[in-house]
């Protein structure tokens, strides 16, 4: 049954997933082309010095991309469930409701996490070829909050999406958007390090928010 649920989720999200992968790949290619151009025009030494002294964002496109991917994945997964109340049918599959929702949520989380982790690894691998480990490490620390925003945005968007009442969706959106904005605070590379465990704790908690919306749906809230 789990395989069937995963297949159902794949059918719903394959277009969105393909679009997300394409967007990440395009952003990665553009970022590397820009870095290659800077290295060629200014020289490696000048580029390194600029990075050490000014701490610019090496991959500005990737600051928001994971969060957009998270929202897109949630919409692709849960908007069809809300049309004609298909979620009711889904929850009637021969499995416990919690287990069904857990499988669906785990699928979406895996898609967002795997795509961001894969492209995160590609970016760091590419950067390590032309920059010392310290610069690659600083870039990783700078990308980390944005990448953590991916699954977080997915959890919050799922929570809002499955909430059955529109007025509540708006009320859920406000704290959700505020919480998500924490991942995008302007700061130096590495400034987020003390906050990362707290953001991780928030992510772990936010994973379960969708269960609250589904419980309300099951309770017949209109």
């Amino acid at each position: 049954m789990y395989r069937s649920i995963i297949y159902k989720e794949w059918i719903k999200t394959r277009t969105a997933t393909g679009f997300i992968v394409l967007a990440f790949a395009a952003a990665a290619i553009h970022s590397f082309m820009k870095i290659a151009e800077d290295l060629r025009l200014s020289g490696a030494a000048a580029c390194w010095e600029l990075v050490i002294q000014k701490d610019p964002a090496m991959f500005p496109l990737f600051e928001y991309l994971p969060a957009i991917a998270g929202v897109l994945a949630a919409l692709a997964q849960y908007v069809p469930e809300l049309q004609s109340k298909r979620l009711k049918l889904t929850l009637h599959l021969p499995l416990k409701e919690d287990a069904i929702l857990l499988a669906m949520s785990a699928y979406g989380t895996a898609v967002v996490t795997l795509v961001t982790a894969f492209f995160g690894a590609v970016l760091l691998w590419g950067l390590s070829a032309n920059f010392p480990a310290e610069i690659a490490g600083a870039s990783f620390r700078r990308l980390l909050p944005g990448f953590m925003a991916g699954p977080s945005a997915y959890f919050l968007a799922s929570w809002i999406c499955l909430e059955p009442r529109w007025s509540r969706r708006v009320l859920n959106f406000i704290p959700g958007a505020l919480a998500l904005s924490l991942f995008f605070m302007r700061a130096k590379s590495g400034a987020f390090c003390p906050l990362v465990p707290w953001l991780g704790g928030f992510m772990a908690a936010a994973f379960f928010f969708v269960f609250q919306s589904t419980a309300r749906f099951k309770d017949g809230v209109q």
Partner: protein
């Protein structure tokens, strides 16, 4: 769906925490007022600290540290070493002060302009450095084409190939070993800016707490133990390159003392600034110096202390202080938010959750909100009591969360 209560509490706590930050933040942005401190400089003529203050309507007034009022012209004339360009143009510059003839070159080379903020120390760093040639053949510094790391050892990385330059690294490592440097280094500070008159390299604290000076002279490594007194425990070093090459920078130690490390015939001499206790994690330091006196300002949450120091001995000549002006945000927070959450701190570049407790009197706001929560309609008696206690604990943020998070089928 099981565990509905746990889910409710989880979402409630989430919204409460967001509100603990999200509610006070716009209030802080709207109510924070500018901290206006007077500009203070020691008059080498009057032998007093001179204050230039501006009120909320930008009306400027001038006085000395005894409260005597000055006109703008009197004020300018009392600070010839600050306003020497204007006084020279006006033909009003004195020929000498305290028996020392005024020489434009002396004025320029002995000028000190330094500012330290705790966020300089409490900030993430890449831990890569650039070693410039300290005695370049040309007038300006040139990029060396490599960078170096200095944590568990010293390694120069060639920018062209992104590989370690083993030969150069070994030369510097041997020089550091010969000087007695013990890795890992605790910290290394240097001025990475290429636009400076000369380069004095880096000051690095070794594993045993000894401060070393490392630089490159004519392409060769230079490493020397500063041999500071054992009573000095350095916690931070702010390098500066003054025009007269008198000293290497400002040294902050664990016991709250601030020193300059002077060049003394190939040796290093710490000279303490007579400015009282200084905490590099919370206090800001400003030094404006001329060849006779240094005016030093130390600012923290309590206010700003001003010191006039003798430029040679750095002993205290005069002092004054100004208490911290009232900030509208502090008053607002004390009334509305007994507890609130923030993520930024002006003393640190790091982001971290920081819980602030204002005044106990602000708990009255919690109490009032808790009482109101007892009368929310369509809730059981038990739920009302829970809501009231929750609001008492988390204040307005808790009350808003209770009203926003759906309870049962609402």
């Amino acid at each position: 769906m099981k565990n509905k209560k746990t889910l409710y509490l989880l979402v409630l706590l989430f919204v409460t925490l967001v509100a603990l930050w999200g509610l006070p933040e716009p209030a802080r942005m709207l109510s924070t007022s500018r901290t206006r401190y007077p500009f203070v400089y020691f008059s080498s003529v009057e032998k007093k600290l001179m204050f230039r203050s501006a009120d909320e309507r930008d009306n400027v007034s001038f006085r000395d540290d005894e409260g005597r009022a000055f006109s703008k012209r009197e004020y300018d004339l009392s600070l010839p070493l600050l306003n020497y360009r204007q006084l020279t143009v006006n033909g009003e510059m004195p020929d000498s002060i305290d028996g020392v003839a005024i020489d434009p070159r002396l004025l320029r080379t002995k000028q000190v302009n330094f500012r330290y903020s705790p966020s300089e120390k409490n900030a993430p760093r890449t831990e890569l450095y650039i070693m410039y040639e300290s005695q370049p053949k040309d007038a300006k510094l040139e990029s060396p084409g490599d960078v170096f790391r200095m944590k568990d050892g010293i390694e120069f990385i060639d920018a062209r190939t992104n590989t370690v330059n083993a030969e150069k690294s070994e030369r510097f490592a041997a020089s550091l070993a010969k000087a007695g440097f013990a890795f890992p280094s605790q910290w290394t500070y240097g001025n990475l800016n290429i636009r400076k008159p000369y380069d004095e390299g880096y000051f690095s604290l070794d594993a045993h707490g000894a401060l070393f000076h490392v630089k490159m002279v004519n392409g060769r490594p230079f490493a020397r133990n500063t041999n500071l007194d054992a009573s000095i425990e350095p916690v931070h070093f702010s390098p500066v390159e003054p025009a007269d090459k008198r000293f290497y920078g400002f040294l902050f130690d664990r016991s709250g003392k601030v020193y300059i490390v002077e060049e003394n015939g190939g040796k290093y001499k710490p000279l303490r600034l007579d400015i009282g206790n200084f905490d590099p994690d919370t206090d800001e330091l400003t030094v404006l110096g001329n060849f006779l006196y240094w005016t030093v300002a130390v600012q923290n949450a309590a206010g700003k202390r001003f010191y006039a120091l003798n430029a040679e001995s750095l002993s205290r000549v005069r002092e004054a202080s100004v208490p911290a002006p009232a900030n509208r945000w502090d008053a607002t927070a004390a009334r509305l938010f007994p507890v609130y959450l923030s993520f930024r701190d002006k003393h640190s570049e790091y982001l971290a959750p920081r819980l602030h407790f204002t005044r106990a009197s602000a708990l009255m706001a919690n109490l009032a909100a808790a009482l109101l929560m007892l009368f929310v309609p369509r809730r059981t008696r038990r739920k009302r009591i829970f809501d009231s206690l929750y609001t008492l604990l988390f204040g307005i943020a808790g009350a808003i969360a209770l009203l926003v998070v759906p309870y049962k089928k609402r």
